[in-house]
């Protein structure tokens, strides 16, 4: 492994600083969020710091190789990840009623998280091989990629993990849109999606998932049942008021009114303790990170690099948006983490791998 020293100058220190700021906020918030967790507050913080270490090592490795080399191996990454997902379905560890984790030597890992950047790499590479000049892609060009997207998504839905599947599908659609499809192809995809939704609702969604969607429409209908968590999340964020209750002073999560408050509902902890002002600052950190990534995509002359960057940016944006909407009761409860902030090693490593790829692409954008 060799790193051209000059390339370090081309590392995007703004993006790195922004990313670290988000991680720092996440760690700080995690301390407060995990105070009431039985296994001890610092236990989870240490695990998260460890995951960060692994993620940063991955970033170091990723930036050392040309992203085109990495993307060249995309189908292998894809096959490895897919095998891991299949193994999860057979041997996975059950937690909270879902089989999402693979425990190897005492360390639980969530392969579906890894699928998020891998899918982008594979899709961007495949679409590029198919793209000639500036012609938009037709249905025939994307049939195989679509199949390769749907297959792991169905497996992930089986776990069940609706959130991850939705994130992968939406980000892949962003990549397809970015590369450009024929108008007729968009129409067909749209029609297929519209047609698949009722089947999806009927056969693939679990009753509890349906209830979550329905209770979003009217949470007061069943305030102690499925609407309960949404209402409590809303109360937590709202009770923060303008300035917040102060760091470590939140009561909603501490008294267990909110489930998964350190993972998917992490924003309720932050919103309650830091209030409107703190939340705006957090949103601005995310906006700045996302816009910076978008800028890198825009500035990258290599179309493959621009596409990968765009895809990964879309993952961050989608996860951020849906997660916050869920916490403030504007989207149904699905398991989507808040990137860099939510507790969860796999999610943090996955986000860091994505960031590493973007840094890599940014470093090499002048090579053409």
């Amino acid at each position: 492994m060799h790193i051209d020293k000059r390339r370090l100058y081309h590392l995007d220190w703004y993006l790195i600083g922004n990313g670290f700021a988000l991680i720092a906020v996440g760690m700080l918030n995690l301390v407060s969020a995990t105070r009431s967790i039985d296994s001890g507050p610092y236990n989870l913080l240490i695990k998260q710091l460890l995951a960060m270490g692994i993620g940063l090592a991955a970033v170091a490795v990723i930036v050392s190789y040309d992203y085109r080399v990495i993307a060249g191996y995309a189908k292998y990454w894809y096959v490895i990840t897919l095998i891991l997902i299949v193994v999860v379905l057979i041997l996975g560890t059950i937690a909270g009623g879902a089989k999402r984790w693979l425990t190897i030597a005492g360390v639980a890992f969530q392969p579906s998280e890894l699928m998020k950047p891998v899918m982008i790499l594979l899709l961007a590479t495949m679409l590029h091989q198919r793209k000639k000049d500036d012609e938009p892609l037709g249905l025939k060009d994307i049939l195989l990629p679509l199949g390769l997207i749907l297959f792991p998504c169905i497996l992930i839905l089986k776990q069940p993990d609706l959130g991850t599947a939705v994130v992968i599908m939406l980000s892949c659609f962003c990549v397809l849109w970015f590369v450009g499809l024929k108008k007729s192809t968009y129409a067909i995809i749209l029609a297929l999606t519209a047609g698949a939704l009722p089947i999806f609702w009927q056969y693939l969604m679990k009753p509890y998932q349906k209830m979550r969607v329905l209770s979003l429409l009217n949470p007061e209908l069943d305030p102690s049942g499925f609407g309960y968590h949404s209402i409590q999340a809303k109360i937590a964020v709202g009770s923060g008021g303008f300035l917040g209750k102060g760091y470590l002073n939140g009561t909603q999560h501490k008294l267990h009114f909110i489930p998964e408050h350190h993972t998917d509902f992490i924003f309720t902890v932050f919103g309650e303790e830091w209030g409107f002002i703190g939340s705006i600052v957090l949103f601005l950190l995310f906006a700045s990170f996302i816009l910076r990534c978008l800028k890198i995509s825009e500035n990258t002359s290599d179309e493959l690099g621009a596409t990968i960057t765009f895809g990964i940016t879309s993952i961050v944006f989608i996860q951020f948006t849906v997660n916050i909407l869920m916490a403030i009761n504007l989207a149904p409860v699905v398991g989507i983490p808040l990137p860099f902030i939510s507790y969860g090693g796999s999610s943090l490593i996955s986000s860091l791998i994505g960031a590493g790829l973007i840094l890599n692409i940014n470093m090499r954008r002048y090579m053409f």
């Binding site: 970015f178 964020v237 008021g241 409107f276 906006a287 995509s297 825009e298």
Partner: protein, 599 residues
Amino acid sequence: MEPMNEGKYKWCRRIILLTLIVLCMRLFDLQILKGDDMKRLSEQNRVRVKKILAPRGMVFDRSSKVVADTRPSFNLYLIREDIRDFNQTVDGLARLLNLDRNDIINRLKEARDYPSSFPVKIESDLSMDQVAKIEANKFYLPGVTIQIEPKRNYPYGIMLAHVLGYVSEISSDELKMKEHKQYVPGDYIGKFGLERQYEEYLRGIDGEQRVEVDATGREVRVLDTVEPIAGNSLHLNIDMELQTVVEKAFDGKKGGAVVTDPRNGAVLALTSRPAFDPNQISSGVNKDYWAKIATDKTHPLQNRVTQGRFPPGSTFKIVLAMKALEKGIINVNTSFSCTGGFAYGGRVFKCWKKGGHGSVAVHRGIVESCDVFFYNVGLKLGVDAIHEEGETMGLTKVTGIDLPGEKAGLVPSTAWKQKTYGEKWYEGETVSVSIGQGAVWLTPMQLVQMASFVANEGVTFKPQLVSRIVSPQGKVLKVFEPALLTNVTPSKQAISNVKDGMRGVVNDPRGTAYASRLPNVAISGKTGTAQSASLGAGRGDHAWFVAFAPSENPVLSMAILVEFGGHGASVSAPIAKIVTDTYFKEQKEIKSAQLNAHR
């Protein structure tokens, strides 16, 4: 950089901006516009106000024996807010405690106007067994909590039941009353007897605890506590030793008895039978007991002494003798001839003694309870004079004893009959009234006042159960001084003749209660055997004995009624003998104890 994608980036930035605007607007709405509401909701989530029940005031007898106190008990509450699956919790409770599901639902309905965090009492005084069952299944019964709370306890059981009364949960009708503003469903309230009469003193002030709870309703920590203030104690004039003797004498009998001190109105003993066990009524567990007591045809919930009106029978002759002597209608020597019957208005009124008493003056009239003598006296007096004397003695009104629901008897008059029936009074009715039958109805409480009237020569006091009220810190809040009820000066001649007669009843060998005399203490009394007006065949006569003792300087007055007991002389008078005997033995013990203490 691709010119073709330039537009796409623009679109992306617009979408990002739009998303941020939407998120910020929602946050503005939740945190700033609705922030205070949300803060209140999170506070309500977190903080729950728990009531700490104040222990009810104690009740002591005159020698500070505890006759009512509190003991810890387990009460079961449901907090609706914490219920997750309504049917699971309600059905589970019904099954574990053997309750009717509808009872639980009705309980919850009663509290529907209270916040959902309000603990609704479902069952009180759980057994250890029940507590264990609930605790073992607590996980499946979210919303159920068990509190240890003070519960009323009456160590003497059925003794003194009608005096102490009982407490039970406030009813929904009572809750609606203005004076019960500070009560909530599930609160105990005195419903009968002293518990009701002195509710405001006994109740105490409930405390409050603000506790932080988590999402499952589990208490995390106590934020602050306002300690409850125990209720005030009542100190009674009742003497439990005397009471016990009276209660024992009444075992297996129906009726009532009251013993007072004629010098001040202090009530020393009061019993009414059949009785009830206030412990069982005050406990929520035994609904069957309550149903049984409330529907019992012998009316155990009636206080015979203050609420039971009976024909006074021959005891009423005291009233006639007093009035006749007072008015000079008769004197000590005025005699009437008794041949065992008295013809009036085409009817023969019999004397109880078949052969007749011969020539009878007032002394023998009382001692031997000659009916014919009093038929004559009564006719000479006329009903209005009898009524007048009843009024003078305080028999036409309630005595004012400190118990709720006292009833007044009736001493008839021509005006009363006119007013009530619109008819004139017939002299023949006076004949019946003369021996305490017909339209005369009196309570034992009123008759003990009659005894006191004679004993204390015209001065009587309002009967009083409670002597003083003392705060939990020992501060005397209220002392009940003797309150005059009647204050007249009857003629010397009248009072001494009646007293002589009453002394003779017990101490003259011809006296109707001679068998109940005591060697060391002279008892004065008057027997009565009243025909019950009840239509039930073969139920017998009411046995009365009204007395005071000692005959000189009396310190005890008593009225004893054994319902359907037969002859006053043979059934009721012996009870007076035991009471008097016990009292003076007790006094002797107290005196010797005091003497010993001096040495």
